[in-house]
């Protein structure tokens, strides 16, 4: 299918995203991947869809509700788009379920990991499960009756339905029992009988599948590991909760709701309270999608009507609903042979009492590449700063960190020890607020200055600044900057680059950055760094323009960049102009890419590849040849309007020679991958890059892992007598 209209020079954002999810699915379909990893990819596809519907589709529907039918810059109206999305989601979902039921589940059974569906229950199993249901599950269930059709029938004529839709979700919530967001429910169409046992009429009832019991029930008997699904049990045995009724139809379903309700940020006097309110509201906001097992057409119609959802919004699934829950199986203990061979992150810094993290950073600018290298130096940095009596202050941005993170603990310790600890916390990281609120208040109690967001913008930049009074009486600063979050858990999965530096100009600008985002200072111009939403986009566009200006046939310009998503129209247009001026543009975009590469006269010098593999590509890098005066940057920002205009983001230069070589090598390696890379064509189709005749297979992620093994020996070469002086100024 085409992902742009005839006249448009841009792929559509949502459709491009769907292709990203299709690439994730490809990894699940790929027989070269271990079985449980394939299952994990299938689960990720579902979990991605959940978020996509809660946020993106919800926003489109909100636009349509508001009567906004104008096409966006790629030329599609909300109606066209919603139809196209529904079509593509079904295609992808079809492949996903086909693979699950016909390949993965049978293959797992062959490996001794059996997942049973009700049709597979033998009498003995059935008995055991029924006992289990009665003893363990039923007491936790709350059956709810749905008011009879004549009391509230939203499907009773289009006019009434439309009117109800305009009333908002709250009105409907009063009629249909609350079903939360993404919670699995079983629905039953019940038939009551009178005293003589004659049928009396039908009732609809629902039961929420408890989320605290675990999705999979392990069977005690039989060979290997055998599991039944909790939702299957509720559907299969749930009728026992309705004595006196017979069950006519039954089904499983889940409702996805609009999750993108903004916080009322004008009320930021108590941001935490406002946030808590949003978390509650999310359970009751607009329904967007109904996922339902293909067990009963009648129930599907009734339930979708109750939520005011049309046919396009109903997804009948040929298998268990909510594959996200299969992550539990993918992570099951004891099946290591069905997963990637474990790779321990490598320790590439040899830190001792005689060679502290400070010494290492003063030797040179230091680049770390997660997850190939250990995240530990970053934890060490914060922990050393917390316990080092010479350290006066630690400032840090925190966004989606894990609750029991060693970094949060170290920061609390530092604050209790009387150091000045400033933490800029992002409370609005989309689905993690509940966790964030708890540790933020713990930090505050320890005496840290906790700043929630800045100027009503999400702080997405990742930076740590440690201020240290050194032996010579002078204050020196050490900075860590990263493309990824300070989260020790995701650091094992996300491909991120981070930079340690003591370069005084960078440190000074990071100091200014913290002053600005904590409100201590008004905006000041940064010369080496760029900060969104102020001048980052402007800087990127002008660097692209500079490349176009300096490009000549004898020495053509070169831009290479890596990011998660490319959606910003101004940047895309600048890249088109650069291409027209003869600049070669190499892009590595993991997710959404609205730029159309390889179109004659528009973008024939631009190529786009995407790498999807074992690790989630997350680093943002950009390189400009700049007529030989090359510039190389790392960034926390994707080239998307959201990042460039509504978030605090940083773009920072890589100055140290060794650091530059390494980041340059990293960036360019992506364009050599012929194992996990896909190239984007002008039609919007992604084609797998295959090794050419006689070319060796090259997987960029494998290469980084192998390369990281050689890091430590190289690091040792920078011995103590060669400690470099901290440079006065950036080149």
């Amino acid at each position: 299918m085409s992902h742009r209209t005839e006249k448009s020079f841009y792929f559509h954002r949502e459709l491009s995203w769907l292709e990203f999810n299709a690439r994730v699915l490809e990894e699940g379909l790929d027989h070269g991947n271990p079985l449980l990893e394939r299952l994990r990819f299938l689960a990720i596809v579902s979990s991605n869809f959940d978020e996509f519907f809660m946020v993106r589709v919800a926003a489109l529907k909100a636009r349509r509700r508001a009567g906004d039918s104008a096409p966006d810059y790629s030329g599609m109206s909300p109606d066209e788009l919603l139809a196209a999305i529904a079509r593509r989601v079904r295609e992808i979902g079809g492949k996903q379920y086909y693979c699950l039921t016909n390949e993965i589940i049978p293959a797992l059974a062959g490996e001794g990991l059996v997942i049973l569906r009700p049709a597979d229950y033998d009498p003995e199993t059935r008995r055991w499960l029924e006992d289990y249901f009665t003893g363990q599950v039923a007491p936790a269930l709350t059956p709810l009756a749905v008011p009879a059709a004549e009391e509230a029938d939203p499907a009773a004529g289009g006019g009434a339905g439309a009117a109800r839709e305009a009333d908002g979700g709250a009105a409907r919530a009063a009629e249909f029992p609350t079903t939360g967001n993404l919670r699995i429910h079983a629905a039953f169409l019940l038939r009551a009988r009178d005293a003589e046992g004659n049928p009396e009429g039908e009732r609809l009832a629902i039961i929420q599948v408890p989320s605290n019991l675990g999705r999979f029930v392990r069977l005690p008997t039989g060979s290997g590991s055998r599991f039944a699904l909790l939702d299957d049990l509720v559907m299969d045995f749930g009728h026992r909760l309705f004595p006196g009724y017979s069950v006519k139809e039954r089904t499983l379903f889940k409702v996805t709701r609009d999750a993108d309700i903004g916080v009322d940020e004008d009320r930021d006097d108590d941001f935490v309270a406002a946030m808590e309110e949003v978390l509650v509201n999310r359970q009751n906001s607009w329904p967007i999608r109904l996922s339902i097992s293909a067990d009963s057409e009648e129930l599907a119609a009734k339930i979708s009507a109750a939520f005011g959802l049309s046919e396009d919004d109903v997804y009948e699934l040929a298998g268990p609903i909510d594959l996200k829950g299969f992550m539990e199986i993918a992570e099951l203990k004891g099946f290591e042979r069905l997963r990637y061979r474990p790779r321990a992150p490598r320790q590439t810094l040899d830190l001792t009492e005689g060679n502290t993290i400070w010494d290492e950073i003063r030797k040179r600018d230091l680049v770390l590449h997660m997850p190939y290298e250990s995240f530990q130096p970053i934890v060490d940095f914060v922990e050393t700063a917390a316990s080092d009596p010479s350290v006066l202050a630690i400032k840090m941005t925190l966004y989606r960190t894990s609750g029991d993170s060693p970094i949060v603990k170290a920061l609390s310790r530092a604050a209790r020890a009387g150091k000045q600890v400033t933490v800029v916390v992002e409370l609005k990281a989309r689905f993690d607020e509940e966790r964030n609120i708890a540790w933020a208040s713990r930090l505050e109690q320890a005496g840290a200055i906790v700043v929630f967001g800045a100027a009503r913008l999400k702080v997405h930049a990742k930076a740590i600044l440690a201020v240290r009074r050194e032996e010579d009486g002078l204050v020196r600063r050490y900075v860590h900057l990263s493309t990824g979050n300070y989260n020790d858990k995701t650091a094992r999965l996300y491909g991120d680059l981070s930079l340690f530096t003591a370069n005084p100009t960078i440190c000074a600008e990071i100091g200014a950055f913290f002053n600005m985002i904590t409100g201590l200072s008004a905006l000041t111009e940064l010369r080496h760094l760029s900060m969104a939403p102020f001048d980052l986009k402007h800087r990127v566009v002008s660097m692209i323009e500079r490349e176009a200006e300096r490009s000549s046939p004898e020495s053509p310009g070169l831009i290479a960049a890596k990011m998660n998503s490319l959606c910003d129209k101004d940047i895309i247009d600048a890249l088109y102009r650069a291409s027209a001026a003869g600049v070669k543009v190499l892009l590595n975009v993991r997710g959404i890419c609205q730029l159309v590469p390889g179109l004659k006269g528009l973008s024939e010098n631009i190529s786009v590849v995407s790498v999807i593999g074992r690790y989630l590509e997350h680093a943002r890098i950009c390189y400009f040849r700049n007529g030989g005066a090359e510039e190389l940057y790392l960034s926390s920002a994707d080239w998307m309007p959201r990042n460039l205009e509504k978030r605090i983001e940083l773009l920072f230069p890589v100055y140290g020679e060794e650091a530059r070589d390494r980041v340059y090598d990293t960036l360019m390696s992506y364009f050599l991958d012929n194992a996990k890379a896909r190239a984007l064509g002008p039609s919007g189709h992604w084609r797998r890059v295959k090794p050419a005749e006689g070319e060796a297979r090259f997987s960029v992620q494998d290469y980084f892992y192998e390369d990281s093994a050689r890091r430590l020996e190289r690091a040792a070469a920078a011995s103590a007598d060669k400690v470099l002086q901290v440079r006065r100024d950036a080149p």
Partner: protein, 510 residues
């Protein structure tokens, strides 16, 4: 000097700004941190004469933030150097402001004089040019900074300060003026042109402006011009060619604040000041022979740091002292004073002042006032010898002495008044208007001045004071004079009464 971390804060008319730096002694420093927040102090003071309650609160909030910022570097508020410039200088409620800030934030605000400000600027400019001393050495130069409330000017001849002036012409003040004129832009430009012309005419006496070849401009507006029209950028300064600058100013004159914001990507608060600031600069530039503007990337705060780090020329007090005395002598000359006598008396007065330090306990400021009074005590002779102490007083009180504030001028006036004849009495309004502590200063200084004056009774400078000894009940003044001292003794008998009263000592001269 030991290496340490210092912080300087400047409370200006448009905002409060801070610098934190590593200072390694011997004048070297490296800046760790810069921050600033806008507070519209100037807007308050230049319209109402007062810092409003809201602005005071805002200042306190900003300063509290800064104290948090300083804490990251281990600098206590009490240790920071906090100076305030023109807005606060003119605010009638400045003492209350300073007091409240001290109570609420721990910062001790020092309201510095314009001339002191100029000198810090001078230090900063000199430092930023580094080895490019050619700028200074080769010719005459001018340093200018257009602030919110005032324009600071310094004239230099081959790198030496000839004069420093503070004009009551600033971007906020002008803005208020032009609002009063209902925003007619023609009016604004005419108003500025008139003011600058008058100011330049006055400057010509100090230094012919056409001969000025180096034109230094400090400040935000100048930095903007350097960014937009600069031809050369060094580490610490930029250069803007004269023509490029003038045509930029011409272009800006035709733009609204909104279009400046969107076209040049500057914050609103900066854009508002841009036109008056650069127009004033351009008007001065046109009077000089300079082919380019040099925009040092420094501020008053750098000057403060240089002074704190003990760099060359960092003894601001000494520099200031020179300036004040030069201005005093200039005033004396205007009234044809007996310069030899005046400087002789000044020398003796200071000699006594320094040797009697333990008895009077006064400091540098009082010493300067005594010196000024010693130079000027006889200027009243220009009008009439009889009762000339009263004419001297009149002249002093009605003159401008660079670097002296109104209250200081009043003390000097009182000193010249009491250098002879009757001492203070309740009917002397100028004396009675002084606060109690200043009256004590007048008494002590006048007592010294009278003794010093009597030692040159004949205006012939025939003796020098070589030593001074404190005895039980008298002060022994030893001179190098071998001859007859009866004239001086006679005069002394007449004038030492006040000294006896104040210090409880008879004066004996040998």
């Amino acid at each position: 000097m030991e290496a340490r971390t210092e912080a300087v804060i400047e409370i200006g008319s448009t905002g409060i700004r801070v610098l934190v730096a590593n200072v390694s002694g011997d004048g070297a420093y490296s800046i760790l941190e810069r921050a600033g927040k806008p507070v519209a102090l100037g807007r308050d003071v230049f319209t109402t004469g007062l810092v409003s309650r809201e602005s005071t609160r805002e200042c306190i909030a900003v300063l509290r933030g800064f104290s948090e910022l300083l804490r990251a570097y281990g600098v206590e508020p009490g240790k920071a150097r906090v100076v305030a410039t023109s807005a606060l200088r003119e605010a009638e409620n400045r003492d209350a402001f300073v007091d409240r800030v001290a109570m609420r934030t721990g910062f001790r605000v020092d309201v510095i004089e314009a001339i002191e400000e100029s000198h810090y600027m001078y230090l900063a400019v000199k430092r930023s040019l580094g080895d490019d001393a050619r700028f200074f050495a080769r010719s005459n130069s001018i340093i200018i900074e257009v602030g919110g409330g005032s324009t600071e000017l310094m004239l230099l001849r081959r790198g030496k300060i000839v004069a420093a002036h503070s004009l009551r012409l600033g971007t906020i003040r002008v803005d208020e003026q032009s609002k009063a004129a209902m925003g007619s832009s023609g009016y604004l430009l005419r108003f500025l042109a008139d003011n600058v012309r008058t100011a330049c005419d006055g400057l010509e006496d100090d230094l012919p402006l056409a001969g000025v070849r180096s034109f230094f401009v400090i400040g935000n507006d100048a930095r903007f011009a350097a960014r937009v029209a600069g031809s050369e950028t060094r580490l610490d300064y930029s250069i803007v060619p004269r023509e490029a600058f003038l045509s930029l100013v011409d272009r800006l004159k035709g733009l609204s604040v909104d279009s400046i914001v969107s076209e040049f990507r500057v914050p609103y608060s900066d854009a508002e000041a841009l036109i008056p600031g650069l127009v004033i600069t351009a008007l001065f530039l046109e009077r000089t022979g300079a082919e380019e503007l040099v925009v040092p990337l420094v501020s008053l705060r750098d000057g403060l740091l240089i002074a704190m780090s003990g760099g060359s020329g960092s003894d601001i007090e000494a520099e200031l002292h020179k300036q004040v005395i030069a201005s005093v002598i200039g005033l004396g000359r205007r009234y044809h004073f007996d310069e030899d006598h005046a400087s002789h008396v000044a020398e003796h007065a200071l000699f006594m002042f320094d040797r009697l330090k333990e008895s009077h306990g006064m400091g540098r400021r009082e010493r300067l006032l005594l010196e000024a009074a010693a130079y000027l005590h006889d200027v009243g002779n220009f009008i009439r010898t009889s009762g000339h102490q009263r004419h001297s007083e009149y002249i002093v009180l009605n003159s401008e002495i660079f670097g002296l504030q109104r209250d200081e001028l009043t003390i000097v006036g009182n000193l010249v008044r009491y250098h002879r004849k009757a001492g203070p009495s309740p009917s002397h309004a100028n004396y009675m208007s002084l606060p109690r502590e200043d009256r004590a200063v007048v008494l002590k200084l006048a007592a010294i001045l009278r003794v010093a004056d009597s030692l040159d009774r004949g205006h012939t400078q025939r003796l020098r004071l070589v030593d001074l000894e404190m005895k039980e009940d008298h002060l022994l003044l030893q001179t190098d004079c071998q001859g007859d001292l009866s004239l001086e003794r006679l005069s002394l008998a007449d004038k030492c009464d006040m000294f006896e009263d104040v210090f409880g000592l008879k004066v004996v001269v040998i």
